[in-house]
């Protein structure tokens, strides 16, 4: 895919995520710290790919999705334990 088209697709995906979270999943609660740490590792793996280190190209995607799922689970577990008290 072309670089400019890639950027355009990335922006469209970002706004799809914003629209989904804003209008459909208003109650979605993600732990910011967990998501940021996994997102940071994902970006670091992109840096490794750019510098020529041979790692699978889907590593950043797996790290981001893992961060999203773990952040969601952690935030909801914290909420439920807070509610039980």
């Amino acid at each position: 895919m072309d670089v400019v088209m890639g950027g355009f697709t990335s922006a469209i995906l970002a706004w799809i995520s914003i629209i989904l979270v804003t209008f459909a999943l208003r109650r979605l609660n993600v732990d910011d710290r967990t998501f940021r740490v996994f997102g940071g590792f994902a970006i670091a793996s992109i840096a490794l790919i750019i510098s020529g280190v041979q790692i699978p190209s889907y590593t950043p995607l797996i790290l981001t999705v893992t961060g999203l799922i773990l952040g969601f689970l952690r935030a909801n577990r914290a909420d439920s334990s807070h509610g039980n008290k």
Partner: protein, 148 residues
């Protein structure tokens, strides 16, 4: 005319606009497109969910467009301006990437690594964005390598 000016002023001053266009100005998108990494699907998704959108942008969108319903009409305009800015930044990055192909690769890799550390929170946000500084050094190094 005044309506357009007012709408633009409202959009540019919104928190969501800042959250979704910050990556265009601090060198995130520029370094990713200069290295050509943003043409890969996994990188596209990661950039979308961490650099352009992310938890901060989702929270800002919920605050501005669900809680304050008056501002909903500016949502589409914010999206259009944000998408255009990202595409323009990618175009500029692609030109830089096509022009420089030597040591620039390592400098853009270093810039992306600092972005990762900033996202994790190990490097604080500075007044002059560090990735932009690294990219500037990369361009100078590339020009010097041409001369030698």
């Amino acid at each position: 005319m005044y309506g357009v000016y007012r709408a633009l002023k409202e959009v540019i001053s919104s928190k969501l606009f800042l959250m979704t266009t910050l990556a265009c100005f601090d060198g995130n998108i520029l370094s990713l497109s200069a290295s050509g990494a943003i043409s890969d699907l996994s990188v596209i998704v990661v950039t979308a969910l961490t650099c352009i959108a992310g938890v901060g942008a989702w929270t800002a969108a919920i605050e501005e467009y669900v809680i304050r319903r008056k501002k909903r009409k500016y949502f589409v305009l914010t999206a259009l301006i944000s998408i255009s800015l990202v595409s323009i930044t990618c175009y500029i990055g692609a030109i830089i990437g096509l022009t420089f192909n030597g040591v620039m690769k390592y400098f853009s890799s270093l810039a992306v690594l600092t972005i990762a550390l900033q996202i994790i929170g190990l490097i604080p946000e500075t007044r002059i964005p560090i990735p932009i500084g690294i990219l500037a050094f990369g361009i100078i190094a590339e020009v010097i390598s041409w001369m030698l």
